[in-house]
Amino acid sequence: MTTLYKTFRRALTTKDGALLGSIFSPENPDRGTFAFSTNHERIRGDVEYEISGLTPLRDENTRAAWIDTLVCYWKIAYILERDDGADVSWAKAYEGQKDLLLVMVRGYTKGNWPHWTLPVMYQICLSLRTVAILSDDQARRLGKASEHLEDAARYINKAFTLCISDRAPIEESRKWGTYYIVNLMFKTYFKLNSVGLAKNILRVLPASLADMPPLEAFPKSHIVTFKYYCGVVSFLEEDYGNAQAHLTYALNHCKADSIRNKELILTYLIPTTMLTKHKLPTLELLSRFPRLATLFNPVCKTIKSGNLQAFDAALRHGEEEFVKRRIYLTLERTKDIAMRNLFRKVVLYQNEESRTKIPVRQFQIAMGLEADGDTVMRSTPERVEVEIEEVECLLANMIYKGLMKGYISRERQTVVLSGKEPFPGTVV
């Protein structure tokens, strides 16, 4: 008996969902022998024979759905392992994966597959997506249209419906699969660069969540991934408050040794926190993630020093990477904090007695100070002269945004600062 059937029989008898799902994993090592175990004429008969006599398959519909599923899977195995030697047609494999998914949907709707078999759904959806990506890559290389991933998204959506529409009591409901499938949809939409569709899920989801168990009841891998994508979607919508909440949750519940995932969470959490809380990541934090240090250190350093010229240079220098990570616009806005810090220094560097009334000219000098000496970037060493009106306008803006407390006396060209906490939250 081929190993795959043995695994199938054991998983079904012991109700081992993960083992059952592993049969349909793209990494199943038994796929090769399975593919070579029979031929197209005999596969159905073989499957019927190999899985006969199993108590969990007494129900005729359940059994029929499993036979279809294994036959479908064999056809994919054949394409991947035997067809045309090395030159796999991923488009053909994709069609096979799609059939497999439809048979799987029937398994749940007509074949009474119980909720513990959810890993089967996961693996079939995951494989569909993987094969769609490979097929699209192949199509692009051949100069053909690549539309399989987009198509795959629609099919994964069927699995989503299977999960949220299950009316069974919660303890045996497919609702437990919701977040896993939603995460797969998020990943797919991001890969397709359709953030709009990702937002759509978040619009649809709350209605389905009404009778769902709380987040904490789900496996952490489902929830952390879900929160990460919710966070990124909020971030891209410039809803930084929610981004902060989602990403913090993801970070706090992430598996400690999943460095790459923590790095991804922080890629968005750091700019968010800079903007909402006016806080920079500590050097200790960045030193634990070299990639993040490369990404953020130059900008953070200039924000801290208040060196506006160097801030612009650091932003320009990292532009391509920032744009790619979609954090450019957010980082650009943190210039306010750099400016606040610069103005704060202007105040701190005055004599004690003249700290509440400061000529606008002093701020003008600070704003025009050249980047010389600051080691971040030397590409713009020239002194930038800023018009006094512009300085006033920026000061007014700082005051308006609550980053500074005081007013501008235009007749005297002086900034009159609040005696108490002129720079709220900075201990000055």
Binding site: E27, L126, T130, I133, D137, N183, F190, K191, N193, P219, K220, S221, V224, T225, L251, N252, C254, K255, A256, D257, S258, R260, N261, K262, L264, T273, K279, L280, P281, T282, E284, L285, R288, K304, S305, G306, N307, H317, G318, E319, E320, V323, K324, R325, N341, K345, V346, Y349, Q350, K357, P359, Q362, A366, L369, E370, A371, D372, G373, D374, V427
Partner: protein, 88 residues
């Protein structure tokens, strides 16, 4: 996930970003494969296996703006420039 689906395109930010940040064809906004949240090796883990229970040293966020180095070039220059035009 099968590693075969990942193009060997872990672009080194250093050599691509260094010279011409505004090359138009590089503006493709598609998230690179290496930007995708990775599948966790296990489905679930305990609270004790997260950073919250065992903070790996130090705070995440700077609490103050005052630990900056006032001997740093920019601050020194700023101080000097401001002195040349004192606020009476």
């Amino acid at each position: 996930m099968s590693s075969s689906s990942k193009p060997s395109k872990t672009t080194d930010p250093k050599d691509s970003a260094a010279d011409k940040p505004k090359e138009p064809q590089k503006q493709a906004l598609s998230l690179e494969e290496d930007d995708e949240f990775e599948d966790f090796p296990v489905e679930d883990w305990k609270e004790s296996e997260t950073d919250v229970q065992n903070p790996p040293g130090g705070r995440l966020w700077e609490e103050s703006w005052d630990d900056d180095d006032t001997t740093e070039d920019f601050s020194t220059q700023l101080r000097e420039e401001l002195k040349k035009n004192p606020a009476k």
